[in-house]
Symmetry: C2
């Protein structure tokens, strides 16, 4: 199948492009590397050096013998989006092309507006381009479990049957997103649902949990093919960040009580889920939602899982509570349904001690690149900006970094 990956330069987009290319799909990427400029702006960088997208594509050609075509264009540029669809005529579009960070969206008014306008306009452009140029194309949009928030009932996959005053209907599951970024994903979901209804487009929304992991079968083929692994407060995600803290010899910091529960999945499962969606497309006019995660952990549980494995590698680690920069429920019910992808054949790669150890070992190889000053949260949801840097209580200076034995 012909698959166009929007945001194919990113943490998930790039491994997805290689994964699908290796499986015989004809793959193209659309990306203008805008995310790299946001990293520059906030002064962070991925743990492992990332080559330019052109170098990666060239390397992929040499290593795999497969060509991935690049449309170096901004998704906010509608004529470029239309032209690319018209040129490539994709059967499926995988839409990762967004500002992906909640803290980035909460920095100030400008970043809230940038996030929502960027994400909203990108998705509107994609919808209008599909409708005008390639209406048969299946849109697979990456959403987030954060769209639902943490209601006191089981979260269903996108829709819920509600019985109310003796009547019934199946309605969109009520959303309670917790940041301007998460809101942008909800806005997108609403826009896509209407487009499916009025234009008979086919779309799958993958409401994804927190992704962890460094490697896939393809990123391991050559160091030029590695993916952009973030551990900073802006673009880093929970488990990944904890592993880096463990290696850096600074406390693993849990926001608030740490009893917040979230769905998690391995980066390899992200690729498989996307593939399953592509191979089993939504029907014409259908907007469907899959909850895409494989396990539920509390943030504390994850912290201790990482700490345990780090200790086994001889690292000195401590789990520490940090003031929660977010406004979120720290004690809550959480039992989201996630059967649809398994029904399609997903066989999860569960979080294991071995995997955590592998991650820690891999991070140790880049230990000198870790900047512990970019990990602790300064961006607060309540509008106050936290003081920059570490205090003596918060962490250990970089000079006394862990030297792992494992």
């Amino acid at each position: 199948m012909k698959v166009l990956i929007l945001g194919g330069d990113g943490y998930l987009g790039w491994p997805t492009a290689m994964y699908l290319s290796r499986r015989g799909h004809s793959v193209a990427i659309m990306d203008n590397c805008l995310k790299r400029s946001w990293e520059q702006e906030v002064g962070v960088e991925p743990l492992f050096p990332i080559h330019t997208l052109k170098e990666r594509l060239e390397c992929w050609r040499k290593v795999s013998g497969q060509e991935i075509h690049l449309f170096a264009a901004d998704l906010q540029d509608y004529s470029a989006v239309q032209a690319s669809l018209d040129d490539f005529l994709p059967d499926a579009i995988v839409h990762y092309g967004q500002q992906p960070s909640a803290p980035y969206s909460m920095m100030d008014r400008d970043h809230a507006v940038l996030t929502q306008v960027n994400n909203l306009v990108s998705t509107l452009n994609v919808l209008w381009a599909i409708q005008t140029v390639r209406p048969s194309c299946h849109l697979i949009k990456l959403g987030t479990m954060g769209e639902y928030g943490t209601p006191n009932i089981d979260i269903e996959e996108g829709f819920i049957e509600i019985e109310h005053k003796g009547r019934k209907d199946v309605l969109p599951f009520p959303c309670q997103p917790g940041s301007f970024y998460h809101l942008s994903k909800v806005h997108d979901s609403h826009n896509i649902r209407l487009a499916c209804k009025i234009w008979k487009l086919a779309a799958t929304d993958l409401n994804q949990g927190i992704v962890y992991g460094i490697e896939t079968d393809e990123t391991k083929l050559h160091n030029c093919l590695e993916t952009s692994f973030h551990y900073d407060e802006v673009f880093g995600t929970t488990l990944n960040r904890f592993c880096v803290q463990a290696v850096a010899g600074i406390p693993i910091t849990v926001y608030g009580k740490g009893s917040q529960k979230r769905g998690f999945l391995n980066i390899r499962d992200t690729l498989r889920c996307v593939e399953l969606a592509i191979l089993n497309p939504a029907a014409c006019g259908e907007y469907r939602v899959f909850n895409q995660f494989t396990e539920i952990f509390s943030v504390s549980e994850v912290a201790h899982l990482v700490a345990d494995q780090a200790r086994k590698l001889g690292l000195k680690v401590r789990v520490q509570v940090a003031e929660n920069p977010r406004v979120e429920a720290e004690q809550h019910y959480y039992n989201p349904t996630h059967t649809k992808l398994r029904d399609l054949g997903l066989q999860p790669n569960y979080l294991s001690d071995v995997l955590i150890k592998d991650m820690l070992r891999r991070i140790c190889q880049a230990q000198e690149r870790i900047r512990s000053d970019i990990i602790m949260p300064r961006i607060r949801w309540d509008g106050r900006r936290q003081e920059a840097g570490f205090t003596a209580e918060q962490g250990t200076p970089a000079e006394t970094r862990n030297v792992p034995v494992g």
Copy 2:
């Protein structure tokens, strides 16, 4: 109280400003008359000549002895919004400042994007400005009953208690908006709800039905104070448009079966509802929703109510079915709750034969200004553009306009 009206040049904003000013509130308007440029763009104009906003304000000063201050600024200009709040220090903000037309938002990609970006950024700017400059200010945002769509259960006021698999929660009422404009209002609602939660702002969302009417006590004081009454396919609303069709001697056109049901209210009740929200503010941190309409009619019912009164005035009228340019359910259940505003004291001005007759008579006075070529829908939800102009079957040429006896 000090009340800032965003979009105070509009059909509802202007009468609201005068109404509140007359009741002793200190009123300011923020508007850059952007909507007038959208009217120019699509080639329509209000039925009655509308003076410039400055002329209206000057006239109001002379007629009422009251001053309404003007901030001539674009809501998308954040520093202007901040500066105005800092200058005026409002106790309440009434937010009408949006692109208000569903058909306008469905014209093409550019108008969909303009609508969503304009409305979203405006509201984000207002939220951030309140949070930074005037956190005690009560935000009253005009929403629409169209945010809910037409579910097969009773629509509640913003929130619904859901019992699911033995557990319960009160959650946002699921929304199924039917145009990119209606979506923009849902996006706004979500953004406001989060701002109330994380910043402890106070907000009231008035999910309004279809407003009809030409006059309020204040617009009648001087012809320079009239409000911008639209009857065209883009900015005109159902009942208002039907009255103009009746006077113009062209068929009253019902989209599709006409059994679509909607909530309606008199323009005078809009002003009273806004006043009630101002006088009974939301609590700090509270986001509440009132369903703001007084009666439910099907579109056909409204067409026949207008036709009956028009005939009594000696006008020759016909109700005719037109192909529905929208994608919407034409047969559906509709029973939205609307008790909260009545609990606060709203005494509805119900739709009456007398009122319809008054409207028809008033429209007759401007009969020569009616342009029947701007009434029939050309903007279609399915992306196809309808042929412009009337066919012999669709309408009567303008030359054979009705000459009313009444």
